[in-house]
Structure formats: C-alpha cells, structure tokens
C-alpha cells in the first residue's frame, strides 16, 4: 500500500484514535468542546479521503517517492545520539564528533582520511566560533556535560 492518500489518511485516523482515547479521562465541557470538534473534523476528512481514494480505485497507484530511507534513518539516529550525548558528555565535544560523523555519512568524498582530518579541523574551529558567539556574545544557554 504505497498510495500517499491512503497512507496519510490511515496515519491521521490512527492519530485521531490515540488522541480520542486520551480525551476520555475527566475533562470538563469547556476543555473538551474545541479538541473534540477538531478530532471530528480530522477524522471525517481522513475517512473521506480514504473512502474517496478507494472508491476512485486509485489504491494500487504508487506515488510515494522515498529514496535512501536508510540514510535518512541514520541522519535522524545521529541527531538523537547528539541530543542524548550533549547533555551528558558536553555540547561542544558531542557536536564536533557528531558533525564529523554526519559529514562522513553525507559525502563519500569525505571518507578519504586526509580530507576528513582537514574537514574535522575546520568543523572544530567553526563550532568553536559558534559556541563562543552563542554562549558569550548572545548569552544563549547551552547544554553542559562532563566536558564542555
């Protein structure tokens, strides 16, 4: 099933079900009236899209283009590692390491050791400038860990 209309409507119906179940626990009328109307609207539009697509007989049409989902998954996974580690190891150190890994993942040319070392030194300098600019000049609070 790779028709975007069908997949998106099923996904939205699942979201409606999850949120709908949450509404059961003791919420007053005034807290309930608006989200309930939104849930109804969302459910009806998703169901309408699903029925219309199935009735039109376009279900077999595959219009979802999702190339290199593995790369996307790895990029997102590295971001998750970034978020976990920055609070524990330190923001700057984690950023240099994950930034370097992202570069290796994105660009095969960066996998040459010489090019990689050159890039990682450049990244370390770039991030140091960002770090000082944000934490000192703009006074933006950054996560702190064991290192910095």
């Amino acid at each position: 099933m790779r028709n975007s209309d069908i997949v998106s409507s099923v996904l939205v119906l699942a979201i409606v079900a999850i949120f709908g179940l949450q509404l059961r626990s003791g919420v007053t009328f005034f807290g309930l009236v608006f989200p309930r109307a939104v849930l109804w609207g969302l459910g009806l539009s998703a169901a309408g899209l699903l029925v219309a697509t199935l009735v039109r007989g376009q279900a077999p049409k595959k219009d979802i283009e999702a190339p290199q989902l593995g790369t996307v998954f790895l990029v997102l996974l590295l971001m998750a590692v970034w978020i976990v580690a920055m609070n524990w190891l330190g923001f700057y150190v984690t950023s240099v390491v994950v930034f370097g890994l992202q570069m290796l993942l994105i660009d095969p040319n960066a996998r040459n050791p010489k090019a990689f070392i050159r890039s990682i030194v450049g990244v370390a300098v770039e991030l140091a400038v960002f770090y000082v600019a944000f934490s000192t000049l703009l006074e933006v609070p950054l996560p702190r860990g064991i290192l910095f």
Partner: protein
C-alpha cells in the same frame, strides 16, 4: 540590524535555505535580547533573505527562496550574457524600493485596521482565526483535503497542555513536561528546517556550480540605477502588487513575483523580449517580492493572522518576547511596534550598501558551499535554537519528533505549512470559540452568537471567498487557456 541584514542575505542566497527557515532558525537567538532589538533582527533577516534569493536566481539559475522564481527568467540570461552584476544591481535597487513601499503601507494601513480590530469580541476572533486558516486553500490547492488535514493536525497539537478556558489538562500522555503545551519555536524549526535538510542530503552531497564572469566595472552602479529609476510605472505597479498580495492570506512573495512579472510583460511594448535578459522582468519580480514583507505584516500585527509561513514564524518571535500579535500591539506596546516597523525600513535601506559590498563574496559562496557542511550546520543551529528558549532538552526532542513528522508528511505529499498555521492559530481559535460560546449561552442564543453579529458575518463571507477564490481562479484560467487553444 546590520548583522540581521548580512545573515538574511547569506541565508537567502544559499539554495535550499528559504526565508522561513532562516527566520525560524534564528528566532531563538533573539530570546536574550530586548524585544525591540530581537524583533529588529528578525525583520532585517526576513527582508534581506527575500532579497538574497535573487543572487542564486541570477548567478546559478536556482532561486534561493521561492520568492525569486521569476527572477531566474531574465536574471540568469543576463548573467549568461556577462551582465550578472548589472542584474544584481537591478535586483538590489528594485528590492529596496519595493521593501520601502511595503513598509510605508504597513505604517499607514496597520494603525487604522488595529483600531477596527479593537472592537472585536471572542466570536470575531474565532472567525479571524478561521479566516487565517483559509490560507491553506492557497497553499494546498493541489490537495485541499490534505491541507485541511494538516491544518486540523496543527490545531490538535495546539490543544496539548492546559486549556485556555477552564484549565483542564489535555493530551499530555502522562508527561508533565507537556503540560505547558508544545513549544512553538522548536516545533516550527522541526517542521520547516529538518525536512529540508534531509531533502538536501538526499538530493546530492556535493553539488557545485560554475562561476562566471559577472561583468563588474567602474561606474556601472549609477548607470544601472538610472535605468531602474527610468521605469517608475513598473516600480509602482510591482510595489502595489507585492503589497496587496502580501496582505492576502496565503499568497506571499512566491505568488507576488510571478503575478508582477506577468503584469510587467502585459504592460510592456516588447513582451517578446521578456525571458531574454530584460531588466524590466528583474525589476518586476524583485520589487514585488520585497513589497510583500510589509504587506504580510499588516494582518499579522493588527489581527494576529499570519499571511505566510514566514509571518507565522515572526508570530512566534513576537510571542517569545511576551507580545501577543493583534491590535493591542499598537495600543499597549506602541513604542516596540512602531520601532519594529521603523527598523524594517532601516534594514531595507541597508540592503543597498550591504548587498553590493557582499556581492562578490556571495557569488563565491553560492557557487562553492558544500551540502556536507551546510546540512550539519543547520542541524547544529536547530538543536541550539530549540534548546535555547526554555533550556529544556524536551523541546529538542519535540523538534526532532516534529522534523521526523515533517519529513514523513513531505513523503506523503502533505505540506507542513498548514500544520504550523493550525498550531499558531489554534489558541486564538479555541479561546474565541469557548469564550464566544459562554457569552452565547449567557445570552440564550448558544452557537447562534457566531452567526448573528455583523462583523462575524463579514468575516464568514471573507472566509468563504478566500476559500473558494483559488478554485474559481484556477477554473477561469483553465477556461481561458481552453479558449485560447480553440482559437489557435
């Protein structure tokens, strides 16, 4: 403002970084600044990012922002003829004139509209929010149902946390961190920036563009400026089109530049020369797209209705400084609001020297910057940005979750802009709806209160027109094309 102008210019010039993305990434960094300073920075970034899009449109035939699509039609042929610098000067002068026109319109039209908005009650605000949501019809004319689903999804996410009336806690899934609601800026960064970064990575890791001779020479600035100023009708028409299109919900620079190009071609004595490197085309597109900035801020600052995705991000920028967009901005925070408008005017004027001084460096940058540096840099800014607002790691997770959702939606051909719009307008709609209902019940007319007040009726009519208009216009265009085909 100088920093904002430079940052916006660089962001706009880089293909793949839209004005929305640039403003969204930088909103959190204004948090520690005084409100006026922060807003001045955002205004400068917005205005100059729209202008910056012209550099890549002219030099590498790739619009840096959707607002510069029309600039490629004549700008790139000019660059290929060795007149790239001439095209950049035309774009610069046009952008400055259009930007100033839009800001003047904002300064003169917004205060009277704010006075009218002060008379609105909850039912009217509910309809204002619904009217704002009709922008979805323009943004998602290819699949309205998916657009509506996106908008409703945004409204639903906006109801997470404590209810504005009554204080009920909803949809927190047992997580106390969600009681305060979903953080708007982190959500916007996730929805607008991460899917674009992922798309950039998937598109190609190291795209490089050819650097060409752009024809810089002495005396060219004044010579070209005179040529631009010799077209007052084109400048005025494009400025008006840009401002009016900016005010209309959903339209924005991406539509204004094409409409203006079309009108310039229709008004020209030599329409056949358009597309071959005529300065008239570049004047039309660049003047119009910068005029939309001031125009788009009119409904945002007076009614709290963002007309475009960038305005939605500016909305969040106002909120983090404790300023609720709407008429009260002019009555209670007049010094900040008028200061903000004036700062955009100054930033627009500053684009002239900054754009021309940075021109060469930007040429080098747009033709050489690699995705392997750009993509992780945007991710780095996304993480800092979403963390900085509340120093809460949960907001970074929400940003990542929204980014993943945004990418999923992109694959499923659902535009993330309606989700953000729903999220922004949700609290306004809910508060107006529930308060209106309370008043209606007290008056014994219940839901009837939403349909009986004159301003509400006017807003309902405007909502219906705004919703139906894109379809009527597409239908009439198709009919015209059919007619022209039959005549040929």
């Amino acid at each position: 403002m100088l920093g904002g102008t430079v940052m916006g210019l660089i962001a706009g010039a880089l293909p793949g970084i839209s004005a929305t993305m640039a403003v969204a990434l930088l909103v959190p960094f204004t948090f520690s600044m005084p409100p006026l300073q922060g807003l001045a920075l955002l205004g400068a970034i917005y205005m100059s990012a729209i202008y910056g899009g012209s550099f890549s449109a002219i030099l590498i035939n790739t619009p840096g922002t959707p607002s510069s699509i029309g600039t490629t039609f004549d700008g790139y042929p000019m660059a290929k003829q060795g007149r790239g610098w001439e095209a950049i000067i035309v774009a610069t002068v046009g952008s400055v004139i259009g930007g100033i026109f839009g800001v003047i319109a904002l300064a003169f039209l917004a205060p009277p509209l704010a006075k009218v908005a002060l008379k609105f009650g909850p039912p009217e605000y509910f309809w204002v929010a619904v009217f704002g949501l009709t922008i979805i019809a323009t943004l998602c004319s290819k699949s309205l149902v998916k657009g509506i689903m996106g908008g409703l999804l945004g409204l639903l996410i906006g109801t997470v946390g404590i209810a504005p009336i009554g204080g009920d806690v909803r949809f927190t899934f047992g997580m106390p961190a969600l009681q305060g609601g979903v953080e708007l800026v982190g959500t916007m960064i996730g929805l607008f920036c991460l899917p674009e970064v992922l798309a950039m990575i998937l598109e190609g890791s190291d795209k490089r563009y050819e650097r060409m001779d752009i024809g810089r020479r002495q005396g060219i600035l004044w010579e070209v400026t005179k040529k631009v100023l010799a077209q007052p009708q084109n400048l005025l028409r494009s400025s008006i089109i840009g401002t009016v299109v900016g005010i209309i919900p959903g339209a924005g620079g991406s539509i204004a530049n094409l409409v203006s190009y079309n009108e310039a071609m229709r008004a020209s004595k030599h329409p056949e020369k358009f597309g071959t490197g005529l300065i008239d085309g570049v004047i039309a597109t660049e003047t119009a797209n910068n005029a939309t900035v001031g125009g788009g801020l009119i409904p945002l600052l007076t009614l709290g209705v963002p007309g475009t995705p960038v305005d939605a991000v500016i909305y969040a920028g106002l909120l983090i400084h404790g300023l609720q967009p709407g008429a009260r901005l002019f009555t209670h925070f007049g010094d900040i609001t008028y200061g903000f408008i004036f700062s955009i005017f100054v930033a627009t004027v500053m684009m002239l020297p900054v754009g021309l001084l940075l021109g060469n460096a930007l040429h080098k940058l747009v033709s050489q910057l690699s995705v392997r540096i750009l993509a992780p840099s945007i991710m780095f800014l996304s993480i800092i940005g979403s963390y900085a607002i509340r120093n809460n790691i949960m907001d970074v997770w929400v940003m990542l979750a929204c980014g993943t959702l945004g990418f999923l939606l992109k694959i499923l051909k659902v535009d993330p802009a309606p989700v953000v719009l729903g999220l922004v307008l949700g609290p306004l709609a809910e508060q107006g709806f529930v308060q209106g209902l309370l008043i209606g019940r007290a008056q014994g007319i219940g839901y009837g209160i939403f349909f009986t007040r004159p301003v509400s009726i006017l807003l309902i009519v405007m909502t219906v027109v705004s919703l139906v208009w894109p379809f009527v216009s597409a239908w009439s265009r198709k009919r015209r094309e059919k007619g022209a085909g039959a005549n040929a």
